[in-house]
Symmetry: C2
Amino acid sequence: MPKRGYHHGNLKEALVNGCLKLIEAKGPTGFTLSEAAREAGVTPAAVYRHFEGREDLIAEAARQGYEIFGDLMEHAYDKGQPSALSAFESTGRAYLAFARKFPGHYVAMFESGISINRNPELNAAATRALGVLEKAAEDLSQHIPADKRPPPAMFSAHIWALSHGVVELFARGSPGTISPYPPEDLLETGIGVYLRGLGLISPDA
Amino acid sequence: MPKRGYHHGNLKEALVNGCLKLIEAKGPTGFTLSEAAREAGVTPAAVYRHFEGREDLIAEAARQGYEIFGDLMEHAYDKGQPSALSAFESTGRAYLAFARKFPGHYVAMFESGISINRNPELNAAATRALGVLEKAAEDLSQHIPADKRPPPAMFSAHIWALSHGVVELFARGSPGTISPYPPEDLLETGIGVYLRGLGLISPDA
DNA sequence: TGTACATCAGTGAACGCGCGTTCACTGATGTAC
DNA sequence: TGTACATCAGTGAACGCGCGTTCACTGATGTAC
């Protein structure tokens, strides 16, 4: 990568990347705008050419996260078709894969306290991405025996909560919460038991 | 509460309380030592009479949290006896109740990044509290049909993850993650489905 | 009960520092002719 | 192709501010006799 002179060339992206790195290291409220600028090799004042401030920077990081997340989810969903069950399981795995591969984005999206309604672009990206999850859950929900079918929104909330919990507690370096099992296995087995409880998987599978 | 003069009387507790309040409002890295002092109506310098610094203050908040948590868990566990199932479900409900009633403590304990091994007192409190959860899971685990019994550690990791996820996503004001169901119901039904999947509850209960 | 003294828990001033934000500026790039 | 000029993206100095931490200090409390 060539060393640039007075003009950075791609400062906006560089700032987002610096922001993501800092979020991973110190959490969404643990770094300063000046640190982000330094990370990108630039004066704090330069940040204002591209963002309104620190929060605006994080919101952009979150937006980009939702874009990536949405793409991954759609791809996973399509790949699992035409079976509702396999499409669902595929999105579950993709969820965890995303959280592990893009921890900074994940935090910016779900732990930064930035409202999804902060700006229309962010809202649109989030709505699309979360829509895929909902859809996968609704598809599968159709296959649940009617007498034990929970509302799709509840069903999807359960799965999301389990996934999020696994990410937070076991897929991070969080000390004191180490599990002897890899997060992938925990999530897969956890979802498996849950689906069995709904009659979606045969009892002895 | 009488206005005190030069001597505060119970500054240490007041600082912990201020810290908890600030954690709730701004997250574990979102406030300063000076703010905590101000919250307690005292000079920043006074903090050093009781704590080594900001992190030490948070660690004490976490320790107190684990003490309360441990007490609640033990009580819930005992109350559910002698049935392993009802003891287990009782601790599950108590977990969520704790998270809702003591959000500052909860964050200090599980989201602050403070290591459980920071000091022996903290470690002892955490070990005791988490031990109750493990025990409840192990008891119940005995009742799972042998052919579908997951290792107790995995079983308890699933439940903890589900509980934590419900707390993080649905029991907070986190915008954009609102669910139409109260967190209590989500957790209760989620655990219900899960236990059914393990054959611990009859399929048509 | 009174007094002298030790201990304790807070003050407030001081320090150097990094922060966010603004501003006039300047070097680099793009474009019209 | 060359040149003049507009636009753009960054600089660096400046500002006032709140931070963490230290220090000698002082007011309040506890205790010995």
